[in-house]
Each structure stands twice: as C-alpha cells, then as structure tokens.
C-alpha cells in the first residue's frame, strides 16, 4: 500500500487566499458544525456499547427495572453478573467460561493453518515459474466470490457420510466424537479462508524486490530456503494483518460454528451460546449484557493493540483490487 500521509507544509494553512471577515466567520461556523456533526456520530456509535457495558455492572433487579442511564444518579456496582454468566451452574446461567475455552480451541488452528498454507501458495504463485501459473492464481482469486453458503450442505455430508461414487467408498465418514468435532470446524474455516488469504498475501509477496530473489537464487538458495529465510520475515506485517483478520472472523463467526460445531457444550463457541441465550432468555439482560462483554473483550484487545496491522491489511485487501 502506498497511502502515505501527504506532508502538510507548515504555515500553509492560514496564509494563502485573502479571506474577508465574512468568509472567515463562515469558515469558523462551518467548522463548528462539522465538529458538532462528528461528535454526534461518534456519540451515536459509542453509546449502545457503553450502555451495555454499564448495565453489565449493575445488579440484576436494577437492570430489569430501570434504564442504565440512571446508574449515574444512584450508582450500584457489582461483578455478580460476570460471576454468574461465566461460572454459574444453573442451566440457564450461561457457563460461558466453558464456551470461552471452546472459542479458543476453535480459533487458534483456524488461524494458523490458512496462514501457513496461503503463505506457501502465495510464494509459489509469485516467485516460482511454472506453466499455468496465472490460471491457477485467477482460479483461486475467483473463488473469493463463492459465498460459503454454497459449500455448507455438501461439506457437512462429506464429514458425516464420507464420499462415495457409484457405491464405491472413496473416503469414509469422519465419525468424529466429542472434542474431535473441532477438527471439522478447523477444516471448514481453513477452506473458506484460503481464497482471500492467498489473494492478500500474494499482493505483498509479489511486491518484494526482484533483485533480492535473484541474488538469493544465484547464491544457490532453494525455494524452501528463500521462503523460510527471506520471504517469511519480510512479509511478517502481512501475516499479522491476515492473522488478525482471520482471528476476528473465526472468533466472531456464527454460521460455520452452528453447522460444524453444533450446539453441544463440548464444541460450540461463545457466539453460538450467546445467540442461544438471546433467543431463549431474551429478557435475562443481566446475563446477556455480561455475556456479550465476555465475547467482545478478546477481539477488542486484539483489535486495539494491533489496529495498525489490521488497517494496513484492510487497505491492501480492498483498495488494491
């Protein structure tokens, strides 16, 4: 990406065009309006989350009877909701600590696998000469437009019934049980992530300087060696960008998890559990508010600490086209 901030020459802001008094007043007015509009948007965008957060810290009977804005008039503060929703034993309490672990177990491999596979593929597509290279790249690129809805039904039957062609079993059913079901979630997430991952990383890998690659080849480095020692360190920011992307996507995903992890407490992630609570216990706001925050906090930390990489990846992935 080449979106550098244009250098603003010092002092060009206020000198320049001859400004009459009226126009100066108008400019100041319009900039006041501008600031006001910006603040209004910012407030509207932040208030709902803020309200939820405040509510999650209020006692149950207060959440259910008064608005969260009354908190500031008579603040009463408790962590009981978090205690209940994370560790409570009652069936409706959430038991989110358990689902939190599930989310972690789902997310880690679902980020690592596509990251590694896509980096290798991107390198091959950018720096190894072979026949049909462009065709393969265009094929992978084009797969980005296939909505994952197109793959769900057959992929589920691939896991549960295997593949047979004309009565001959080419591939048996996976027959997974309990925690093993994580494997099919990882598999599905990896497959669905690859087209975009290859595309994004290819954008970076193909922009590495040609001289560097050729010098390495002349020195007798093999492709795996170049990939490991030169390419991987250089595209680390891109790997970080895609890693964050994929992390947010997998952690926040509901559809893939619903279908491949199911609703069981052994495999279902936080999102599935929360959606369930929102459906069946839609008025238990003390649990929903705290629960929503439990699910939000990890991606928010990742996002805020690594925002720089995320934005760079976003721009490279979308604007370059």
């Amino acid at each position: 990406m080449t979106t550098t901030t244009p250098p603003v020459a010092a002092g060009t802001q206020d000198t320049g065009s001859p400004t009459t008094r009226a126009s100066r007043v108008r400019t100041r007015l319009s900039s006041r309006t501008a600031t006001l509009v910006a603040i209004v948007i910012a407030v509207v965008w932040t208030i709902p989350t803020f309200g939820l957060f405040v509510s999650s810290l209020r006692p149950e009977n207060q959440i259910k009877t008064t608005g969260w804005w009354t908190f500031f008039r008579d603040p009463e503060f408790t962590l009981q909701n978090y205690q209940d929703v994370l560790f409570g034993q009652a069936s409706g309490s959430g038991q989110l600590a358990n689902y939190f672990v599930n989310s972690l177990v789902i997310t880690l491999p679902s980020v690592l696998f596509p990251l590694a596979f896509a980096a290798m593929a991107a390198y091959a597509l950018a720096w190894i000469n072979f026949r049909g290279r462009d065709l393969v790249y265009i094929g992978i690129f084009a797969l980005q437009i296939v909505p994952l809805q197109m793959a769900l039904v057959p992929l589920l039957s691939f896991f549960s019934r295997g593949v047979s062609l004309g009565g001959v079993t080419l591939m048996p059913a996976w027959n997974l049980d309990g925690a093993q079901n994580f494997a099919q979630v990882w598999f599905a997430h990896t497959c669905f992530a690859l087209p975009f991952a290859v595309y994004l990383l290819h954008n970076f890998v193909s922009q590495l300087p040609r001289d560097l690659m050729e010098a390495a080849r002349v020195d007798g480095a093999t492709h795996p060696k170049i990939f490991r020692t030169i390419v991987l360190p250089l595209i680390a920011p891109a790997l970080a960008a895609f890693g964050i992307f994929q992390f947010l996507w997998v952690w926040n995903d509901l559809l893939v998890a619903l279908i491949f992890a199911g609703g069981s407490d052994v495999t279902a992630p936080l999102t599935v559990r929360l959606a369930e609570l929102a459906g069946t216990r839609g008025n238990e706001w003390q649990r929903l508010t705290a629960g929503a925050f439990v699910s939000i906090v990890v991606p928010l930390i990742v996002f805020l600490s690594l925002q720089r990489f995320f934005v760079r990846g976003l721009l490279a992935g979308s604007v370059k086209g």
């Binding site: 065009s17 400019t27 910006a38 509510s55 358990n98 290798m120 809805q149 497959c191 928010l300 805020l304």
Partner: protein, 349 residues
C-alpha cells in the same frame, strides 16, 4: 467459583493435537522440500562427475521449478477442491433435486422461491438490505472521514467508529436489542430508544415486532458495523490525494463544498466503488444479525437465514441449495461491475 477443569482436558488435548498436526504438516512439507531436491542434486552431481569421467556427454539438468510449485500449492489446492469447488458444484446439482436429494425435480425449487409468499418476502427484505446498507454505511463513513480529517484527536475519533468492526454480529445484535428493549407503558423503560420515545411524549413500542420497521432497525445494526470499514478505507483514500492539488484548489479560493464535490469525491471514486461493492457482498450474506435478533420471525428473514432454515432445520436440501445458488447469482454481477471498474482504472492510469 465452579469451573470444571477436568471437563476442559479433552478439548485442550484436541487443541494440542491440532497444533502438532500443524507443525508436522507445515514443517514436514518444508523439510521434505529441502531434503529431497538436495538429495537429487547430489545424485545429479555424482552422475555428472561419473559421466565426465567416462567421456559420455553430460545430460542437461532440467529445471524442476514446477515440482516445487506443486508442493507449495498442494495443501491450498487440495483444501479448496474438497472444501469449496466440489461442494459448490454439488450444491448447484442439489438445487435441482428434492428435499432428501433423491429425485430430480427440475426447476421446482426455483419456482417455489418466487411463488411462495414468505420466500418472496425474504427476497424483498434482502433487496432492502442490499440497497440501504451500502448506501447509508458508505455515506456516514465518508462524512465522518471528511469531518475528522486532520482534526485534533483524529485517530481516537476514528477508533470510536471503527471499534464495532471488532465486535461479533451476535454481540452487536445483543447490544442493539438492548437499545430496542421494551417495557410496558407506565413502567420505567430500560431500552434507550423507548426512553427517548417516552420522553418525547410518545408511547413505548415493541420495535422488533413491527414489520417493516423492524427490518430497518436490523439494518441499523449492519450500518453501525460497516460504517467503520467505509470510514477507514475512504479516509486513507482522502489522505492519498496529492497535496498540491488540494493546495492549488485552496489558492483558487474554492468553498469547502466545492472542494469536496470537485476535488475529494472524484479522487476517491475508486475507493468508493470498492467500499460499496465489499459492503454489498457482506450484506447479501448477512445471517447472524437476523438470527440473533428475531430468528427471522416477524417478516425479517433474509436469504442467508432462510437458506440455513431450509437446509439445516427443515431438512429441505433442495430448497436450501436453490437459495444458496441464488445468493451466488446475486453476487456475480456486483463482482463483474467491480472488475470492469478496475480494468477501466488501469487503462486510464
């Protein structure tokens, strides 16, 4: 504190297995690629030496680039084939079969889609979503990007709008459901929207039950999430406008509005198209918001939600597949539009 650590062990073991599998597959592949060619290279060298000793003409070593490429690409291509290409073809075939995928039914599933009133409603809702979300989200994102450009605390201001992107659709739906929460008339309201209604002298409403208003309120959630994306991309595009153009315009004494409509807008057109296209595609596939907020009841369902219901709740694989194919068909023209735009840019640029 009651947290059963023992119950977590099998999962963590599974995670460990997953990570081991990762190390073995990726590490193994790289080692394999390192060792095997080195082995062949040594053999070739030995043969060359032997050949030159016996006086036979040395065989020319053919570059084996293609072999490397195959191994580098193997995991990706295999997974894409199993996980995406074959399933997509199968889904297309299934869409011409009945619910149990036993008999061919021709175009019945597609006819059903446009004949059944509830499904027509679903298609209509999707149309409303895909018209409004890109339009509103992009407009707000652009407005905000322009307003905070070069302002004090710009990065903080941007983070506020951008933050919803880190929140799951499920989390966002809960956040907004709380805003729309309803308490009977006379009771104290706990939802912000109804509180505002009441303090303006109106009556509290069950927002999510009233069609078609409820669809609009769900759309608000999607706009809330996507505006940040639009803002970031457009803000970068605005900053990429060459400073001398902006400066020249300022010297000519253009008004802020002229600056916006004649300098900013044309300069960021390519980025605008990308934003609109990306948001449109994301909106077409929206599922989580509708499922979490209303479960598709009260006339709020959209294609992706209905597809899930048909295929995975009612066991109607044929109808579900037909909806998936239709979703794909809707995405294609948007993408073609984008590709044509990129080509045009390249020609101009």
């Amino acid at each position: 504190m009651n947290f059963d650590f023992a119950a977590q062990t099998p999962k963590l073991m599974m995670l460990l297995w997953g990570l081991i599998a990762f190390a073995v597959v990726v590490g193994g592949l790289l080692v394999l690629l390192d060792v095997v060619p080195a082995f062949f290279a040594r053999r070739r060298e030995a043969r060359l030496i032997a050949g030159s000793a016996s006086g036979a003409p040395p065989r020319r070593a053919k570059p084996r680039e293609g072999l490397f490429a195959i191994f580098f690409l193997l995991p990706t291509l295999l997974l894409l084939l199993i996980g995406l290409v074959v399933p997509a073809i199968r889904t297309t075939l299934l869409s011409f079969m009945d619910g149990g995928s036993q008999n061919w039914v021709g175009l019945d599933n597609y006819r059903w889609m446009f004949a059944d009133d509830s499904i027509v409603r679903v298609l209509l809702n999707t149309l409303i979503w895909v018209t409004l979300v890109p339009l509103v989200a992009t407009s707000i994102g652009l407005l905000y990007a322009v307003l905070v450009d070069k302002a004090r605390l710009e990065s903080v201001a941007k983070s506020l709008i951008f933050m919803p992107m880190a929140i799951s659709f499920v989390g966002a739906s809960i956040i907004w459901k709380f805003v729309y929460a309803y308490r009977g008339e006379g009771e104290e309201q706990i939802g912000l929207l109804n509180q505002i209604m009441v303090s303006l002298g109106g009556e509290p409403r069950q927002w999510l039950l009233d069609s078609p208003l409820n669809t609009l309120l769900l759309i608000v959630i999607m706009v809330w999430i996507q505006a940040g994306f639009a803002m970031v991309v457009l803000s970068a595009a605005i900053k990429a406008i060459p400073a001398d153009i902006v400066e020249a315009a300022r010297l000519d004494g253009v008004s802020p509005w002229q600056m916006f409509s004649q300098i900013t807008l044309p300069s960021i057109r390519p980025a605008m198209i990308v934003v609109v296209v990306t948001i449109s595609i994301a909106t077409l596939k929206v599922f989580d918001i509708v499922r979490t907020s209303t479960n598709g009841n009260y006339d709020t369902s959209v294609i992706a939600n209905e597809m899930y219901n048909q295929a995975f709740r009612y066991g109607q694989n044929g109808q579900g597949s037909a909806l998936a194919v239709f979703l794909f068909v809707l995405v294609v023209p948007i993408v073609i539009f984008q590709i044509r735009n990129i080509r045009q840019q390249r020609r101009e640029g």
